[in-house]
Protein backbone atom coordinates (compact mmCIF):
# COMPACT_ATOMS: atom_id res chain seq x y z
CA UNK A 1 0.00 0.00 0.00
CA UNK A 2 1.34 3.38 -0.94
CA UNK A 3 1.34 5.97 1.81
CA UNK A 4 -0.39 8.95 0.33
CA UNK A 5 -0.98 12.10 2.30
CA UNK A 6 -4.44 11.10 3.41
CA UNK A 7 -3.18 7.80 4.83
CA UNK A 8 -0.60 9.67 6.88
CA UNK A 9 -3.23 12.12 8.15
CA UNK A 10 -5.52 9.21 9.04
CA UNK A 11 -2.89 7.29 10.96
CA UNK A 12 -1.89 10.45 12.81
CA UNK A 13 -5.49 11.11 13.83
CA UNK A 14 -5.95 7.54 15.02
CA UNK A 15 -2.74 7.69 17.08
CA UNK A 16 -3.62 11.10 18.47
CA UNK A 17 -6.97 9.87 19.72
CA UNK A 18 -5.27 6.83 21.24
CA UNK A 19 -2.63 9.03 22.89
CA UNK A 20 -5.08 11.31 24.72
CA UNK A 21 -6.21 8.81 27.40
CA UNK A 22 -2.75 7.29 27.77
CA UNK A 23 -1.19 10.69 28.43
CA UNK A 24 -4.12 11.62 30.65
CA UNK A 25 -3.43 8.63 32.89
CA UNK A 26 0.24 9.56 33.14
CA UNK A 27 -0.84 13.01 34.26
CA UNK A 28 -3.29 11.41 36.63
CA UNK A 29 -6.33 13.13 35.16
CA UNK A 30 -8.83 10.37 34.33
CA UNK A 31 -11.38 12.95 33.22
CA UNK A 32 -9.58 13.21 29.88
CA UNK A 33 -10.11 9.49 29.34
CA UNK A 34 -13.84 10.09 29.42
CA UNK A 35 -13.36 13.00 27.03
CA UNK A 36 -11.47 10.77 24.59
CA UNK A 37 -14.13 8.08 24.90
CA UNK A 38 -16.75 10.68 24.07
CA UNK A 39 -14.72 11.63 20.99
CA UNK A 40 -14.55 7.99 19.87
CA UNK A 41 -18.27 7.42 20.32
CA UNK A 42 -19.34 10.62 18.57
CA UNK A 43 -16.89 9.78 15.78
CA UNK A 44 -18.49 6.34 15.47
CA UNK A 45 -21.97 7.87 15.23
CA UNK A 46 -20.71 10.25 12.55
CA UNK A 47 -18.99 7.42 10.62
CA UNK A 48 -22.48 5.96 10.34
CA UNK A 49 -23.95 9.23 9.11
CA UNK A 50 -21.00 9.75 6.77
CA UNK A 51 -22.02 6.62 4.89
CA UNK A 52 -25.43 8.09 4.08
CA UNK A 53 -24.47 11.76 3.90
CA UNK A 54 -20.93 11.61 2.55
CA UNK A 55 -20.98 8.64 0.20
CA UNK A 56 -24.67 8.63 -0.63
CA UNK A 57 -25.48 12.34 -0.57
CA UNK A 58 -28.44 11.69 1.74
CA UNK A 59 -28.42 14.62 4.17
CA UNK A 60 -30.20 12.98 7.08
CA UNK A 61 -31.18 15.51 9.71
CA UNK A 62 -32.58 12.70 11.84
CA UNK A 63 -29.73 10.41 12.78
CA UNK A 64 -30.35 11.19 16.43
CA UNK A 65 -33.25 8.75 16.09
CA UNK A 66 -30.87 5.80 15.62
CA UNK A 67 -28.40 7.15 18.16
CA UNK A 68 -31.14 7.54 20.76
CA UNK A 69 -32.81 4.23 19.97
CA UNK A 70 -29.45 2.50 20.41
CA UNK A 71 -29.11 4.32 23.71
CA UNK A 72 -32.56 3.30 24.87
CA UNK A 73 -31.88 -0.34 23.91
CA UNK A 74 -28.89 -0.29 26.26
CA UNK A 75 -30.84 1.55 28.96
CA UNK A 76 -33.97 -0.59 28.78
CA UNK A 77 -32.15 -3.94 28.68
CA UNK A 78 -29.99 -2.86 31.63
CA UNK A 79 -33.05 -1.61 33.48
CA UNK A 80 -34.72 -5.02 33.17
CA UNK A 81 -31.56 -6.89 34.05
CA UNK A 82 -31.29 -4.76 37.18
CA UNK A 83 -34.93 -5.17 38.22
CA UNK A 84 -35.04 -8.83 37.23
CA UNK A 85 -38.39 -8.32 35.50
CA UNK A 86 -38.57 -9.40 31.84
CA UNK A 87 -39.71 -7.09 29.02
CA UNK A 88 -43.32 -7.93 28.37
CA UNK A 89 -44.36 -7.95 24.70
CA UNK A 90 -47.74 -9.49 25.46
CA UNK A 91 -47.30 -12.68 23.45
CA UNK A 92 -43.82 -13.36 24.73
CA UNK A 93 -41.40 -12.10 27.31
CA UNK A 94 -37.73 -11.21 26.95
CA UNK A 95 -35.33 -10.98 29.86
CA UNK A 96 -33.10 -7.94 30.25
CA UNK A 97 -29.33 -8.20 30.00
CA UNK A 98 -26.24 -6.34 31.08
CA UNK A 99 -23.95 -8.03 28.57
CA UNK A 100 -22.62 -5.47 26.10
CA UNK A 101 -22.21 -7.80 23.11
CA UNK A 102 -25.89 -8.79 23.30
CA UNK A 103 -26.94 -5.19 23.85
CA UNK A 104 -24.91 -4.10 20.83
CA UNK A 105 -26.49 -6.71 18.56
CA UNK A 106 -29.98 -5.71 19.69
CA UNK A 107 -29.13 -2.00 19.29
CA UNK A 108 -27.86 -2.64 15.76
CA UNK A 109 -30.94 -4.65 14.81
CA UNK A 110 -33.49 -2.26 16.29
CA UNK A 111 -31.89 0.87 14.84
CA UNK A 112 -31.49 -0.95 11.51
CA UNK A 113 -35.20 -1.77 11.46
CA UNK A 114 -36.07 1.83 12.28
CA UNK A 115 -33.74 3.05 9.52
CA UNK A 116 -35.37 0.61 7.10
CA UNK A 117 -38.81 1.99 7.91
CA UNK A 118 -37.79 5.67 7.85
CA UNK A 119 -35.49 5.21 4.86
CA UNK A 120 -38.08 3.38 2.75
CA UNK A 121 -40.34 6.42 3.02
CA UNK A 122 -37.73 9.21 2.97
CA UNK A 123 -35.61 7.95 0.09
CA UNK A 124 -38.34 8.72 -2.43
CA UNK A 125 -37.63 12.38 -1.80
CA UNK A 126 -34.46 14.40 -2.16
CA UNK A 127 -32.92 17.71 -1.21
CA UNK A 128 -34.77 19.82 1.35
CA UNK A 129 -37.68 17.35 1.48
CA UNK A 130 -35.37 14.53 2.50
CA UNK A 131 -33.88 16.70 5.24
CA UNK A 132 -37.35 17.62 6.52
CA UNK A 133 -38.79 14.09 6.45
CA UNK A 134 -35.83 12.59 8.31
CA UNK A 135 -36.08 15.43 10.84
CA UNK A 136 -39.81 14.85 11.27
CA UNK A 137 -39.37 11.13 11.94
CA UNK A 138 -36.61 11.77 14.45
CA UNK A 139 -38.74 14.33 16.27
CA UNK A 140 -41.51 11.75 16.47
CA UNK A 141 -39.17 9.36 18.29
CA UNK A 142 -38.10 12.25 20.53
CA UNK A 143 -41.63 13.11 21.60
CA UNK A 144 -42.49 9.44 21.95
CA UNK A 145 -39.62 8.92 24.43
CA UNK A 146 -40.58 12.13 26.20
CA UNK A 147 -44.11 10.95 26.85
CA UNK A 148 -43.40 7.31 27.66
CA UNK A 149 -43.39 7.11 31.47
CA UNK A 150 -42.35 3.45 31.73
CA UNK A 151 -38.72 4.37 31.01
CA UNK A 152 -38.42 7.72 32.69
CA UNK A 153 -40.15 9.93 30.12
CA UNK A 154 -38.49 13.29 29.94
CA UNK A 155 -36.40 12.57 33.03
CA UNK A 156 -34.52 9.84 31.23
CA UNK A 157 -33.36 6.48 32.46
CA UNK A 158 -30.30 5.72 34.55
CA UNK A 159 -28.03 2.71 34.10
CA UNK A 160 -26.96 2.06 37.70
CA UNK A 161 -23.91 -0.06 36.91
CA UNK A 162 -22.18 0.10 33.54
CA UNK A 163 -22.99 -2.96 31.44
CA UNK A 164 -20.39 -5.69 31.23
CA UNK A 165 -18.10 -7.17 28.66
CA UNK A 166 -16.83 -10.73 29.20
CA UNK A 167 -13.35 -10.87 30.67
CA UNK A 168 -12.75 -7.17 31.30
CA UNK A 169 -13.72 -4.58 33.84
CA UNK A 170 -15.76 -1.99 31.95
CA UNK A 171 -15.87 0.27 35.01
CA UNK A 172 -12.23 1.17 34.42
CA UNK A 173 -12.36 4.25 32.18
CA UNK A 174 -9.35 3.18 30.10
CA UNK A 175 -10.85 -0.26 29.43
CA UNK A 176 -14.08 1.29 28.27
CA UNK A 177 -12.14 3.68 26.06
CA UNK A 178 -10.36 0.75 24.40
CA UNK A 179 -13.67 -0.98 23.74
CA UNK A 180 -15.10 2.12 22.07
CA UNK A 181 -11.87 2.82 20.19
CA UNK A 182 -11.72 -0.74 18.84
CA UNK A 183 -15.31 -0.53 17.63
CA UNK A 184 -14.57 2.83 16.00
CA UNK A 185 -11.59 1.33 14.13
CA UNK A 186 -13.72 -1.63 13.03
CA UNK A 187 -16.38 0.75 11.73
CA UNK A 188 -13.72 2.70 9.83
CA UNK A 189 -12.48 -0.52 8.21
CA UNK A 190 -16.07 -1.31 7.23
CA UNK A 191 -16.60 2.21 5.87
CA UNK A 192 -13.44 2.00 3.75
CA UNK A 193 -14.41 -1.44 2.42
CA UNK A 194 -17.90 -0.26 1.48
CA UNK A 195 -16.54 2.92 -0.12
CA UNK A 196 -14.18 0.94 -2.36
CA UNK A 197 -16.61 -1.87 -3.20
CA UNK A 198 -19.07 -2.30 -6.03
CA UNK A 199 -21.83 -1.24 -3.70
CA UNK A 200 -19.90 1.89 -2.79
CA UNK A 201 -19.24 2.66 -6.45
CA UNK A 202 -22.97 2.52 -7.20
CA UNK A 203 -23.77 4.57 -4.08
CA UNK A 204 -21.29 7.32 -4.91
CA UNK A 205 -22.34 7.35 -8.55
CA UNK A 206 -25.97 7.73 -7.47
CA UNK A 207 -24.97 10.82 -5.50
CA UNK A 208 -23.18 12.29 -8.50
CA UNK A 209 -25.72 11.46 -11.18
CA UNK A 210 -28.83 9.41 -10.60
CA UNK A 211 -29.74 9.33 -14.31
CA UNK A 212 -26.40 7.76 -15.17
CA UNK A 213 -26.87 5.01 -12.61
CA UNK A 214 -30.32 4.16 -13.97
CA UNK A 215 -29.00 4.19 -17.53
CA UNK A 216 -26.49 1.48 -16.75
CA UNK A 217 -29.28 -0.60 -15.26
CA UNK A 218 -28.80 -0.05 -11.52
CA UNK A 219 -31.73 0.81 -9.27
CA UNK A 220 -30.33 3.73 -7.27
CA UNK A 221 -33.02 3.70 -4.59
CA UNK A 222 -32.33 0.12 -3.55
CA UNK A 223 -28.64 0.95 -3.18
CA UNK A 224 -29.47 4.09 -1.19
CA UNK A 225 -31.88 2.30 1.12
CA UNK A 226 -29.31 -0.39 1.95
CA UNK A 227 -26.72 2.29 2.67
CA UNK A 228 -29.20 4.19 4.83
CA UNK A 229 -29.90 1.07 6.92
CA UNK A 230 -26.20 0.29 7.44
CA UNK A 231 -25.70 3.95 8.33
CA UNK A 232 -28.47 3.83 10.94
CA UNK A 233 -27.06 0.61 12.41
CA UNK A 234 -23.62 2.11 13.00
CA UNK A 235 -25.08 5.23 14.58
CA UNK A 236 -27.36 3.03 16.71
CA UNK A 237 -24.38 1.08 18.01
CA UNK A 238 -22.73 4.38 18.90
CA UNK A 239 -25.86 5.29 20.86
CA UNK A 240 -25.62 2.12 22.96
CA UNK A 241 -21.99 2.92 23.78
CA UNK A 242 -22.88 6.52 24.62
CA UNK A 243 -25.58 5.41 27.05
CA UNK A 244 -23.06 3.20 28.81
CA UNK A 245 -20.49 5.97 28.91
CA UNK A 246 -22.89 8.35 30.65
CA UNK A 247 -24.77 5.57 32.43
CA UNK A 248 -27.83 7.54 31.47
CA UNK A 249 -30.24 7.79 28.53
CA UNK A 250 -32.68 10.60 27.98
CA UNK A 251 -34.79 11.95 25.15
CA UNK A 252 -32.09 14.54 24.47
CA UNK A 253 -30.16 11.78 22.67
CA UNK A 254 -33.06 11.74 20.19
CA UNK A 255 -33.37 15.49 19.73
CA UNK A 256 -32.61 17.44 16.59
CA UNK A 257 -29.64 19.10 18.35
CA UNK A 258 -27.96 15.73 18.31
CA UNK A 259 -28.73 15.20 14.61
CA UNK A 260 -27.32 18.63 13.88
CA UNK A 261 -24.22 17.88 15.90
CA UNK A 262 -23.49 14.80 13.76
CA UNK A 263 -23.76 16.86 10.58
CA UNK A 264 -21.49 19.52 12.10
CA UNK A 265 -18.91 16.86 13.02
CA UNK A 266 -18.80 15.62 9.44
CA UNK A 267 -18.53 19.09 7.93
CA UNK A 268 -15.78 20.05 10.38
CA UNK A 269 -13.82 16.89 9.64
CA UNK A 270 -14.48 16.44 5.94
CA UNK A 271 -17.57 15.12 4.14
CA UNK A 272 -17.17 11.60 2.70
CA UNK A 273 -13.60 11.36 4.00
CA UNK A 274 -12.78 8.19 5.91
CA UNK A 275 -11.39 10.02 8.96
CA UNK A 276 -13.58 13.09 8.56
CA UNK A 277 -15.84 12.05 11.46
CA UNK A 278 -12.82 11.28 13.66
CA UNK A 279 -11.24 14.67 13.02
CA UNK A 280 -14.63 16.35 13.42
CA UNK A 281 -15.45 14.64 16.72
CA UNK A 282 -12.02 15.43 18.16
CA UNK A 283 -12.33 19.09 17.18
CA UNK A 284 -15.89 19.33 18.41
CA UNK A 285 -15.31 17.77 21.83
CA UNK A 286 -12.15 19.84 22.25
CA UNK A 287 -14.02 23.05 21.46
CA UNK A 288 -16.83 22.06 23.74
CA UNK A 289 -14.36 21.41 26.54
CA UNK A 290 -11.94 24.32 26.08
CA UNK A 291 -14.40 27.03 25.05
CA UNK A 292 -17.17 25.59 27.21
CA UNK A 293 -14.86 26.06 30.19
CA UNK A 294 -14.45 29.74 29.35
CA UNK A 295 -17.92 30.76 28.25
CA UNK A 296 -21.44 29.37 28.14
CA UNK A 297 -21.68 30.76 24.66
CA UNK A 298 -19.07 28.40 23.23
CA UNK A 299 -21.43 27.36 20.46
CA UNK A 300 -21.24 30.89 19.10
CA UNK A 301 -17.52 30.37 18.54
CA UNK A 302 -18.11 26.91 17.17
CA UNK A 303 -20.45 28.58 14.69
CA UNK A 304 -17.66 30.92 13.62
CA UNK A 305 -15.31 27.98 13.10
CA UNK A 306 -17.96 26.15 11.10
CA UNK A 307 -18.49 29.24 8.98
CA UNK A 308 -14.76 29.42 8.34
CA UNK A 309 -14.64 25.75 7.33
CA UNK A 310 -17.60 26.04 4.98
CA UNK A 311 -16.29 29.22 3.36
CA UNK A 312 -12.55 28.60 3.31
CA UNK A 313 -11.78 24.90 3.71
CA UNK A 314 -14.64 22.98 2.18
CA UNK A 315 -12.96 19.62 2.56
CA UNK A 316 -12.98 20.08 6.33
CA UNK A 317 -9.93 19.37 8.46
CA UNK A 318 -9.00 16.21 6.54
CA UNK A 319 -9.45 17.97 3.21
CA UNK A 320 -7.29 20.84 4.44
CA UNK A 321 -4.52 18.50 5.62
CA UNK A 322 -4.66 15.86 2.91
CA UNK A 323 -5.90 17.69 -0.18
CA UNK A 324 -8.75 16.73 -2.45
CA UNK A 325 -10.25 13.25 -2.41
CA UNK A 326 -9.12 10.90 -5.15
CA UNK A 327 -11.45 8.42 -6.73
CA UNK A 328 -8.98 6.30 -8.73
Amino acid sequence: MTMNRETIVNISLALLLLAIPLIALQLNSPFYVTLATRMAILALAAVGLNLALGLGGMVSFGHAAYFGVGGYVAGILAHHAFSGLPLDFGLFQVPGTNMMPIIWVVAILVSGLLALFIGAISIRTSGVYFIMITLAFAQMTYYFANSWPAYGGEDGLSIFVRNQFPGVNTLRPLTYFFICYAILLAALVLFAAIRDSRFGAALQAARQNEVRVATVGINANRIRLAAFVISGMITGLAGALYADLNRFVSPSMLSWHMSGEFIVLIILGGVARLYGPVAGAMLFVMFEFLLGGMTDRWQFFLGLVLLGVVLLARGGLVGWLAGRARHG
Partner: protein, 249 residues
Protein backbone atom coordinates in the same frame (compact mmCIF):
# COMPACT_ATOMS: atom_id res chain seq x y z
CA UNK B 1 -36.43 -7.26 -44.01
CA UNK B 2 -35.18 -8.92 -40.85
CA UNK B 3 -37.24 -9.08 -37.68
CA UNK B 4 -36.97 -5.65 -35.99
CA UNK B 5 -35.07 -5.39 -32.71
CA UNK B 6 -37.01 -2.30 -31.71
CA UNK B 7 -40.55 -1.83 -32.92
CA UNK B 8 -42.67 1.19 -32.05
CA UNK B 9 -46.33 1.34 -32.96
CA UNK B 10 -48.73 4.28 -32.79
CA UNK B 11 -46.85 5.98 -30.00
CA UNK B 12 -48.39 9.21 -28.67
CA UNK B 13 -47.47 11.58 -25.89
CA UNK B 14 -48.98 14.96 -25.08
CA UNK B 15 -47.92 17.69 -22.72
CA UNK B 16 -51.19 19.54 -22.17
CA UNK B 17 -52.37 20.65 -25.59
CA UNK B 18 -49.00 20.01 -27.19
CA UNK B 19 -48.68 16.72 -29.02
CA UNK B 20 -44.99 15.96 -28.62
CA UNK B 21 -45.34 12.50 -30.13
CA UNK B 22 -48.26 11.90 -32.45
CA UNK B 23 -48.95 8.36 -33.64
CA UNK B 24 -45.33 7.50 -34.37
CA UNK B 25 -44.41 4.19 -36.03
CA UNK B 26 -40.72 3.37 -36.10
CA UNK B 27 -38.57 0.30 -36.17
CA UNK B 28 -34.92 -0.65 -36.01
CA UNK B 29 -33.63 -3.76 -37.76
CA UNK B 30 -30.30 -5.53 -37.16
CA UNK B 31 -27.25 -3.97 -38.75
CA UNK B 32 -28.74 -0.62 -39.61
CA UNK B 33 -28.37 2.98 -38.64
CA UNK B 34 -31.77 4.58 -38.59
CA UNK B 35 -31.52 8.34 -38.43
CA UNK B 36 -34.23 10.39 -36.78
CA UNK B 37 -34.18 13.96 -38.02
CA UNK B 38 -36.40 16.97 -37.71
CA UNK B 39 -36.33 20.65 -36.77
CA UNK B 40 -35.88 21.79 -33.18
CA UNK B 41 -38.90 20.96 -31.09
CA UNK B 42 -40.01 18.17 -33.40
CA UNK B 43 -40.10 15.75 -30.48
CA UNK B 44 -36.96 13.72 -31.18
CA UNK B 45 -35.65 13.73 -27.63
CA UNK B 46 -39.15 13.13 -26.27
CA UNK B 47 -39.34 10.04 -28.44
CA UNK B 48 -35.92 8.81 -27.30
CA UNK B 49 -36.92 9.39 -23.68
CA UNK B 50 -40.02 7.25 -24.14
CA UNK B 51 -37.98 4.45 -25.66
CA UNK B 52 -35.39 4.59 -22.87
CA UNK B 53 -38.11 4.78 -20.21
CA UNK B 54 -37.62 8.26 -18.72
CA UNK B 55 -41.01 9.30 -20.09
CA UNK B 56 -44.22 7.28 -20.27
CA UNK B 57 -46.15 7.32 -23.55
CA UNK B 58 -49.89 8.04 -23.35
CA UNK B 59 -50.77 5.36 -25.89
CA UNK B 60 -49.02 2.96 -28.24
CA UNK B 61 -46.54 0.15 -27.74
CA UNK B 62 -42.78 -0.14 -27.62
CA UNK B 63 -41.53 -3.62 -28.36
CA UNK B 64 -37.89 -4.51 -27.77
CA UNK B 65 -36.51 -7.92 -28.71
CA UNK B 66 -40.09 -9.11 -29.14
CA UNK B 67 -41.19 -8.01 -25.67
CA UNK B 68 -43.50 -5.09 -24.88
CA UNK B 69 -41.45 -2.86 -22.58
CA UNK B 70 -43.95 -0.05 -21.89
CA UNK B 71 -44.14 -0.91 -18.20
CA UNK B 72 -40.41 -1.39 -17.58
CA UNK B 73 -38.41 1.25 -15.76
CA UNK B 74 -35.14 2.76 -17.01
CA UNK B 75 -32.78 0.32 -15.21
CA UNK B 76 -34.78 -2.69 -16.40
CA UNK B 77 -34.71 -1.51 -20.01
CA UNK B 78 -30.98 -0.87 -19.73
CA UNK B 79 -30.42 -4.41 -18.47
CA UNK B 80 -32.44 -5.76 -21.39
CA UNK B 81 -29.95 -4.07 -23.70
CA UNK B 82 -31.11 -0.56 -24.53
CA UNK B 83 -27.97 1.57 -24.43
CA UNK B 84 -28.32 5.32 -24.75
CA UNK B 85 -26.24 8.42 -24.90
CA UNK B 86 -27.59 11.80 -23.90
CA UNK B 87 -27.90 15.06 -25.79
CA UNK B 88 -26.18 16.73 -22.85
CA UNK B 89 -23.73 14.18 -21.52
CA UNK B 90 -24.75 12.57 -18.28
CA UNK B 91 -21.91 10.94 -16.36
CA UNK B 92 -20.57 10.64 -12.82
CA UNK B 93 -18.31 13.73 -12.88
CA UNK B 94 -16.03 12.89 -9.93
CA UNK B 95 -15.26 9.42 -11.21
CA UNK B 96 -12.62 8.75 -13.81
CA UNK B 97 -13.62 7.61 -17.29
CA UNK B 98 -12.60 4.11 -16.27
CA UNK B 99 -14.79 4.06 -13.17
CA UNK B 100 -17.76 5.30 -15.19
CA UNK B 101 -17.38 2.35 -17.54
CA UNK B 102 -16.72 -0.05 -14.65
CA UNK B 103 -20.11 0.87 -13.21
CA UNK B 104 -21.72 -0.44 -16.39
CA UNK B 105 -19.58 -3.59 -16.28
CA UNK B 106 -20.60 -4.32 -12.69
CA UNK B 107 -24.24 -3.86 -13.62
CA UNK B 108 -23.90 -6.37 -16.46
CA UNK B 109 -22.17 -8.85 -14.16
CA UNK B 110 -25.20 -8.84 -11.91
CA UNK B 111 -25.16 -7.57 -8.39
CA UNK B 112 -24.05 -4.22 -7.07
CA UNK B 113 -24.66 -5.58 -3.57
CA UNK B 114 -21.07 -6.59 -2.97
CA UNK B 115 -19.56 -4.82 -0.03
CA UNK B 116 -15.99 -5.94 0.42
CA UNK B 117 -13.89 -6.49 -2.68
CA UNK B 118 -12.23 -3.23 -3.78
CA UNK B 119 -13.25 -2.40 -7.36
CA UNK B 120 -9.90 -0.85 -8.23
CA UNK B 121 -8.23 -4.22 -7.65
CA UNK B 122 -10.90 -6.20 -9.47
CA UNK B 123 -9.55 -7.31 -12.84
CA UNK B 124 -12.94 -8.69 -13.84
CA UNK B 125 -14.22 -5.09 -13.82
CA UNK B 126 -11.15 -3.24 -15.04
CA UNK B 127 -10.23 -5.44 -18.01
CA UNK B 128 -13.59 -5.28 -19.83
CA UNK B 129 -13.85 -1.56 -19.07
CA UNK B 130 -10.39 -0.87 -20.51
CA UNK B 131 -11.27 -2.91 -23.57
CA UNK B 132 -14.20 -0.67 -24.53
CA UNK B 133 -12.25 2.48 -23.68
CA UNK B 134 -9.61 1.22 -26.07
CA UNK B 135 -12.24 0.73 -28.75
CA UNK B 136 -13.56 4.28 -28.53
CA UNK B 137 -10.03 5.67 -28.33
CA UNK B 138 -10.12 6.81 -24.70
CA UNK B 139 -7.66 4.30 -23.21
CA UNK B 140 -5.04 6.94 -22.53
CA UNK B 141 -7.60 9.13 -20.77
CA UNK B 142 -8.97 6.29 -18.62
CA UNK B 143 -7.76 7.69 -15.29
CA UNK B 144 -8.85 11.27 -15.87
CA UNK B 145 -11.90 12.46 -13.90
CA UNK B 146 -14.86 13.07 -16.18
CA UNK B 147 -15.04 16.70 -15.04
CA UNK B 148 -11.67 17.23 -16.74
CA UNK B 149 -12.54 15.49 -20.01
CA UNK B 150 -13.36 17.51 -23.11
CA UNK B 151 -16.87 17.69 -24.49
CA UNK B 152 -16.07 15.28 -27.29
CA UNK B 153 -14.38 12.82 -24.95
CA UNK B 154 -17.49 12.72 -22.78
CA UNK B 155 -19.52 11.84 -25.85
CA UNK B 156 -17.13 9.00 -26.62
CA UNK B 157 -17.32 7.88 -23.00
CA UNK B 158 -21.12 7.67 -23.13
CA UNK B 159 -20.84 5.40 -26.14
CA UNK B 160 -18.18 3.34 -24.37
CA UNK B 161 -20.60 2.83 -21.47
CA UNK B 162 -23.36 1.74 -23.84
CA UNK B 163 -20.87 -0.69 -25.39
CA UNK B 164 -19.86 -2.06 -22.00
CA UNK B 165 -23.52 -2.74 -21.28
CA UNK B 166 -23.50 -5.17 -24.19
CA UNK B 167 -26.37 -3.19 -25.66
CA UNK B 168 -28.58 -4.83 -28.27
CA UNK B 169 -29.60 -1.42 -29.62
CA UNK B 170 -28.12 2.06 -29.28
CA UNK B 171 -30.13 5.24 -28.86
CA UNK B 172 -27.73 8.07 -29.60
CA UNK B 173 -29.07 11.57 -29.04
CA UNK B 174 -26.94 14.00 -31.07
CA UNK B 175 -23.58 12.34 -30.46
CA UNK B 176 -21.83 14.83 -32.78
CA UNK B 177 -23.19 17.96 -31.11
CA UNK B 178 -20.46 20.36 -30.13
CA UNK B 179 -17.70 18.23 -31.64
CA UNK B 180 -15.10 19.70 -33.94
CA UNK B 181 -14.94 18.54 -37.58
CA UNK B 182 -12.06 16.22 -36.71
CA UNK B 183 -13.97 14.59 -33.87
CA UNK B 184 -17.12 14.24 -35.98
CA UNK B 185 -15.16 12.47 -38.66
CA UNK B 186 -13.62 9.98 -36.23
CA UNK B 187 -16.97 9.33 -34.60
CA UNK B 188 -18.65 8.86 -37.98
CA UNK B 189 -16.10 6.18 -38.82
CA UNK B 190 -16.67 4.55 -35.46
CA UNK B 191 -20.47 4.49 -35.70
CA UNK B 192 -20.18 3.08 -39.21
CA UNK B 193 -18.57 -0.03 -37.73
CA UNK B 194 -20.67 -0.04 -34.58
CA UNK B 195 -23.87 -0.81 -36.51
CA UNK B 196 -22.63 -4.35 -37.14
CA UNK B 197 -22.65 -4.94 -33.41
CA UNK B 198 -26.09 -3.52 -32.74
CA UNK B 199 -28.40 -1.24 -34.69
CA UNK B 200 -28.39 2.47 -33.93
CA UNK B 201 -31.24 4.92 -33.68
CA UNK B 202 -29.41 8.14 -34.37
CA UNK B 203 -30.75 11.60 -33.63
CA UNK B 204 -28.45 14.04 -35.34
CA UNK B 205 -28.42 17.56 -36.72
CA UNK B 206 -25.18 17.11 -38.66
CA UNK B 207 -26.66 16.27 -42.07
CA UNK B 208 -23.32 15.27 -43.57
CA UNK B 209 -23.01 12.61 -40.88
CA UNK B 210 -26.63 11.53 -41.33
CA UNK B 211 -26.33 11.10 -45.08
CA UNK B 212 -22.98 9.38 -44.73
CA UNK B 213 -24.19 6.91 -42.12
CA UNK B 214 -27.91 6.28 -42.31
CA UNK B 215 -29.49 3.29 -43.98
CA UNK B 216 -32.93 4.74 -43.38
CA UNK B 217 -34.17 8.14 -42.29
CA UNK B 218 -37.34 9.09 -40.47
CA UNK B 219 -38.36 12.74 -40.49
CA UNK B 220 -40.28 14.04 -37.52
CA UNK B 221 -42.13 17.38 -37.59
CA UNK B 222 -44.38 18.53 -34.74
CA UNK B 223 -44.32 15.03 -33.28
CA UNK B 224 -45.48 13.35 -36.49
CA UNK B 225 -43.60 11.24 -38.97
CA UNK B 226 -43.85 13.11 -42.29
CA UNK B 227 -41.56 10.76 -44.18
CA UNK B 228 -39.63 7.57 -43.62
CA UNK B 229 -37.54 5.48 -45.95
CA UNK B 230 -34.25 5.02 -47.77
CA UNK B 231 -31.83 7.92 -47.77
CA UNK B 232 -32.27 8.69 -51.49
CA UNK B 233 -36.05 8.77 -51.20
CA UNK B 234 -35.91 11.15 -48.27
CA UNK B 235 -33.52 13.42 -50.11
CA UNK B 236 -35.99 13.62 -53.01
CA UNK B 237 -39.16 13.89 -50.96
CA UNK B 238 -40.68 17.29 -51.72
CA UNK B 239 -42.44 17.57 -48.38
CA UNK B 240 -39.23 16.94 -46.49
CA UNK B 241 -37.38 19.49 -48.54
CA UNK B 242 -40.06 22.04 -47.83
CA UNK B 243 -40.38 21.30 -44.13
CA UNK B 244 -36.85 20.67 -43.17
CA UNK B 245 -33.98 20.40 -45.59
CA UNK B 246 -34.68 23.69 -47.32
CA UNK B 247 -34.68 24.05 -51.11
CA UNK B 248 -31.10 25.06 -51.42
CA UNK B 249 -30.09 23.16 -54.57
Amino acid sequence: MAEPILDIRQLSKSFGALKATDGVDLDLVPGEIHALIGPNGAGKSTLINQIAGTLRPDTGTIRFLGQVINDLKVPERARLGLGRSFQISSLAPEFSALRNVMLAVQSVQGSSFRFFKPVMRDASLIAPAMEVLERVGLAERARIPVAELSHGERRQLEIAIALALGSRAFLLDEPMAGMGPEGSKTLTGFLDKLREEAPILLVEHDMDAVFALADRITVLVYGRVIASGKVEDIRKDPEVRKAYLGDEQ
